[in-house]
């Protein structure tokens, strides 16, 4: 902002002032782009905020907020009071997908951490790093549904393997790994390989060098890979649609329910709100870990 509205220089004997018209004509592109950018950000965040507000409103389907109530959360957690017979069923319909999603998210996070730790530090140092990176990032550039169909056809029709939780795990890993790898690469490409030499020189075995030098310094990248793996798996939809055998993850549950024009939509608002809040908190932690510490590390290495 300051670049656009520089304070007038006070030390000049006769401070020159630009005519207002000239000021505006010089600066409108900047102001325009700022306005547009934050306007689109508003379009991104308005539905998220409004979702939260509606989830505590009594008539969420009208789009109007007000008449605050926690009824939808109550219904979601303990079943719908009004429809007695269904109460227990609704409850388990929400929690079974939740547990499955959590399980998959933890597995994906662990796989992402291990895989990005194995690949991240070496990739910047090998000859074919460019093409390799492109290969790893391929799932980012293929639409989810295409990748999902491809994997399904290959494993189900090509190899005749039955879909199940393993295929959901694989699909989630394929989706999350490119992000995890990028997060790791941000940290790993700043890693100074001379530190490993210094450790070897001081008598550290390869195993010690790995655990005591490489892993601690790459810790932000490992954490970020884990966080990204967790969050991306937890909210993943397109891959899960085909790579499953009747298993219902939370996003699939939400997708099916939101597609159906029935009264369970308010529950979805409540559930989505909770997931969104949890995701935002985790994202903040991940960003702080990956980028907050990175700045400190980067300056460390530069000065060293």
């Amino acid at each position: 902002m300051t670049a656009l509205a520089e304070p007038p220089k006070l030390d000049d004997a006769a401070p020159r002032k630009l005519p207002l018209a000239q000021k505006i004509s010089e600066r409108w592109p900047a102001w325009g782009s700022i306005f547009i950018g934050y306007f689109v950000l508003l379009i991104i965040y308005f539905p998220i905020l409004w979702l939260m507000i509606l989830s505590i409103s009594s008539e969420p389907l009208t789009g109007f907020a007000g008449d605050w109530t926690l009824r939808w959360y109550d219904d979601m957690l303990y079943g719908t009071g009004q429809r007695e017979g269904e109460a227990y069923a609704v409850n388990s319909r929400v929690f079974d997908p939740l547990f499955l999603s959590l399980k998959l998210a933890f597995i994906t996070a662990a796989l992402c951490m291990v895989a990005s730790l194995l690949i991240g530090p070496i990739l910047p140092r090998v000859r074919f790093r460019g093409p390799l990176l492109l290969g790893y990032l391929m799932p980012l550039m293929v639409p989810g549904i295409v990748a999902s169909v491809s994997l399904f056809l290959f494993y189900r029709l090509g190899l005749h393997w039955k879909m199940g939780e393993w295929s959901l795990g694989l699909a989630h890993f394929v989706w999350a790994f490119p992000f995890a790898l990028l997060a790791m690469l941000v940290v790993a490409s700043r890693f100074d390989a001379r530190l490993l030499e210094a450790a070897a020189d001081l008598g550290a075995s390869p195993w010690r060098r790995f655990w005591q030098i490489q892993v601690p310094i790459l810790k932000p990248g490992i954490f970020a890979a884990g966080f990204f793996g967790f969050l991306l798996s937890f909210n993943e939809l397109p891959f899960s649609i085909f790579m499953r055998a009747g298993d219902i993850t939370l996003p699939i549950y939400l997708w099916i329910q939101s597609g159906a024009h029935n009264s369970s939509v308010p529950l979805i608002f409540a559930l989505s709100t909770l997931i969104t809040i949890a995701s935002i908190i985790l994202t903040f932690i991940a960003i702080k870990v990956a980028f907050g510490e990175r700045t400190v590390r980067a300056t460390d290495v530069k000065k060293t």
Binding site: E197, A199, A200, D201, L202, G203, R208, K303
Partner: protein, 381 residues
Amino acid sequence: MAVINASGSASVSDAVRVAGGEQILEVVNATHRYGEVTALDHVSITARRGEFLTLLGESGSGKTTLLRIIAGLERPSAINRITIDGTDATLLPANKRNTTTVFQHYALFPHMSVGENIEYGLRVRGMPKPERRQRAEKVLELIRLPGLYERRVHQLSGGQKQRIALARALVTEPAILLLDEPLGALDEKLRIDMQVELKELHERLGLTFIYVTHSQEEALTMSDRILLMRHGRVVQEGPPTDLFERPVARFVAEFMNVENLLDGTIERASGAEATVRIGSHLLRGPWTGRGAAMPGTKACVAVRAERIQLGPAPSHDAQSINHLPCRPGVTIYKGKYVDQMLGTEIGPVKARVWDRSMEISTATAFWWRANDCAIMPVESE
């Protein structure tokens, strides 16, 4: 070592000096290639216990490669043997060799405190924490940075980092301390202070130092012995005075910053003396090349600017005086002295004048004592 152990025995470094003749390092016939480039070409070196040995050379001369091979960080393409402190280390990886390195860019671990950095070498050797800490504090005092134990690495200044890197390498009490251009990243004043300090530290600890540098001034100030390297080979080896006074080849004289290098052909040679013809002039001086001077071969007369006297020669004793006519050129003011360029029939010559009262711009001749110059072959091999 005694200082680190705090055993109170001041005589240890004397004891070490007594055993000064003992060989602590032997590298036999090391060759290293990076692809097509030969970085090290059949080099063999030795070092005595307690010696301050300097590997001097331009970048790409192979000096750092040699140091890394000694440390075990580089695997040579071919080698007969490396012996470190009586142990055959040819096949040992870096972490099993009894050497430590002070790196040019320090390579301090950014995720550890100063104390943890210094203790790292002891930690990997399984020393218990209290003892480690005690040793680290001792070595911090030794390098005159007590109280920095808890400090984070990124809070240190460049000079402090350099000393911590030194402390980290010293604390493991290696048989040989390897220093890879450790002062290269420091500013000039700090560099001169550190030269003195390193020299003192070497005296006090009696440890073997192998020091890599491209600065002839650093090499002259600190070393017991210098190996001057070029194109992966050792060009000349000896104490600083040898390299400074008796260069074996034109390259050595050039590297040791001899200002005037006058190329010609050998006219006559007799034992330690040689006479060189340049144009119509005959110059004589001591022969410092390897082997005997061969008449008819190309040779170079090296004479330092401060040895040149302006004015007519005091006597015409052609045996001990070289003299030439000249016309004065540019005068360069250098503060403590003045550099006077002189135009001669055999090319420009630089004379250094300390006496400011002298009238220099009118000089029509100059001279130097034959013993003040050196004559050596142009080619190094």
